[in-house]
């Protein structure tokens, strides 16, 4: 099928791919929304330390909700309809993409980063839940708005097909999605309150010791014992992995805490409620505390540790993050209760 006229798709670079794609697709449909707001109403903030799940042999630590969670919450907003499809067959998946493009529909895709040739080789890794938007096709090349890049990029069809069918954890299985209907305006108050409520529940109310504030303390206790249990070199590898998940991989820094603070600040303006800006300041403090831990960890990983840089100090620093976040989420939970 011949590609249709290129939609007037506006590319915006973002910190995190899923919230960036969600915001881009909504903006394309005429809903003005920031990445931070999409992250917040999508209930994106989280903490989980799941040592029984391994990424390249290292325990999974995550500062955000599961891949796909933000898009799922946004697709359930009243008035929004999102077409989503997975495939078993590569050629069917590419034909469905071409069909949508023929109708000038920008399409969100889940892909494996490793197979996207426009990523510099140093940044390619086996992560299969990377979201991007395909907004056109020229010859055999797809025109892509990849939210982590400063401008639009291009990708040959064969490579894109491979990225859509990357195997392993979180295999995308050709997943594609696009918005078919949006309301004229988003009723932001209820979406903000619901988004905040869901995050408070996960961070404070989870019965599992590996999730939320309890999970942060669990990580602190584990990390303190890593040098004895794993040896110096392996302990440094583990701690480096925690920092990378916290400060890289599209987190916006401080394990998504700064992005959520931006959401609260924006929400304070939208709802004309100064208390949300005050809560944003509390969370920024927690983000700074996460960074203090990360800086010590970075020095240990880079073999330039100072005498005071120890695993005990890092663990204490993480416990400090847990206390700050517990206080922050209790306050925020109180705010949510006042809204109903």
């Amino acid at each position: 099928m011949r590609p249709g006229p290129l939609p007037d798709f506006s590319h915006t670079q973002s910190a995190h791919c899923e919230s960036g794609v969600a915001a881009s697709l909504l903006r394309h449909k005429g809903i003005e929304i920031s990445e931070a707001m999409a992250f917040g109403i999508g209930g994106g903030l989280f903490f989980g330390y799941l040592p029984f799940i391994r990424l390249n042999g290292l325990p999974l630590v995550t500062y955000r909700s599961a891949a796909g969670h933000i898009l799922k919450r946004i697709s359930r907003i009243p008035g929004i309809s999102m077409h989503q499809q997975k495939f078993r067959d590569k050629s069917q998946a590419m034909a469905a993409l071409d069909d949508a493009l023929a109708h000038s529909i920008p399409v969100g895709l889940q892909t494996g980063v490793y197979w996207l040739p426009y990523f510099p080789s140093a940044l390619r890794f086996h992560f299969n839940a990377h979201n991007l938007v395909v907004y056109g096709k020229e010859g055999d090349e797809y025109l892509i708005s990849d939210p982590v890049f400063p401008g639009p990029v291009r990708c040959p069809g064969e490579d894109l097909a491979r990225a859509r069918f990357a195997s392993g954890a979180l295999a995308p299985k050709g997943k594609m999605y696009y918005l078919t209907r949006v309301p004229e305006n988003l009723e932001r108050r209820s979406l903000i309150v619901k988004g905040i409520r869901s995050v408070c529940k996960m961070m404070l109310g989870s019965p599992f010791p590996l999730i939320g504030v309890k999970g942060i303390r669990f990580l602190a206790n584990r990390l303190e014992r890593w040098p004895d249990r794993l040896g110096k070199e392996n302990a440094a590898l583990h701690v480096g992995h925690v920092v990378r998940m916290q400060e890289e991989i599209g987190t916006g820094g401080g394990g998504f805490r700064f992005m959520y603070a931006a959401f609260l600040q924006e929400s304070g303006v939208v709802l004309e409620d100064q208390s949300l800006a005050d809560y944003a300041a509390l969370l920024t403090q927690a983000g700074d505390s996460w960074r203090q831990f990360a800086v010590i960890a970075a020095r240990i990983c880079k073999n330039r540790a100072r005498p005071e840089d120890t695993y005990t100090v890092m663990a204490e620093s993480i416990r400090q993050c847990a206390s700050l976040e517990e206080n922050f989420f209790r306050e925020l939970e109180g705010w949510v209760k006042k809204q109903s």
């Binding site: 670079q13 973002s14 910190a15 995190h16 510099p120 140093a122 400063p150 480096g240 920092v243 990378r244 400060e247 890289e248 599209g250 987190t251 916006g252 820094g253 401080g254 700064f258 992005m259 931006a262 920024t284 983000g287 960074r291 203090q292 990360a294 800086v295 970075a298 020095r299 990983c301 880079k302 330039r304």
Partner: protein, 87 residues
């Protein structure tokens, strides 16, 4: 290289223990972080640079987009810090 850029370069080298850098040969527009960085700085160094800049000059870099843009080169970093710090 402007004096303030030189000051920042010295701070970066001290923070990240870059001992063998010939400061006069560093291009102010060269990439500060990544495989093409003449300093050989990576993302863990970038984190430490961001935190040190915040401590020394009171200027935050807390969104990934801000860090990406600001840490492009010594020149962009100097301009960002200079225009955001309290004089």
């Amino acid at each position: 290289m402007e004096p303030f850029e030189r000051e920042l370069l010295e701070l970066i080298c001290t923070t990240c223990n870059f001992d063998d850098v010939e400061m006069d040969k560093i291009d102010r527009h060269a990439p500060l972080i990544g495989p093409e960085s003449p300093l050989g700085a990576d993302s863990l160094d970038a984190l430490e640079i961001a935190v040190t800049i915040q401590r020394e000059y009171g200027v935050r870099m807390d969104s990934e987009n801000t860090s990406r843009t600001v840490l492009q080169s010594l020149a962009t970093l100097a301009q960002y810090v200079d225009s955001n710090r309290a004089h």
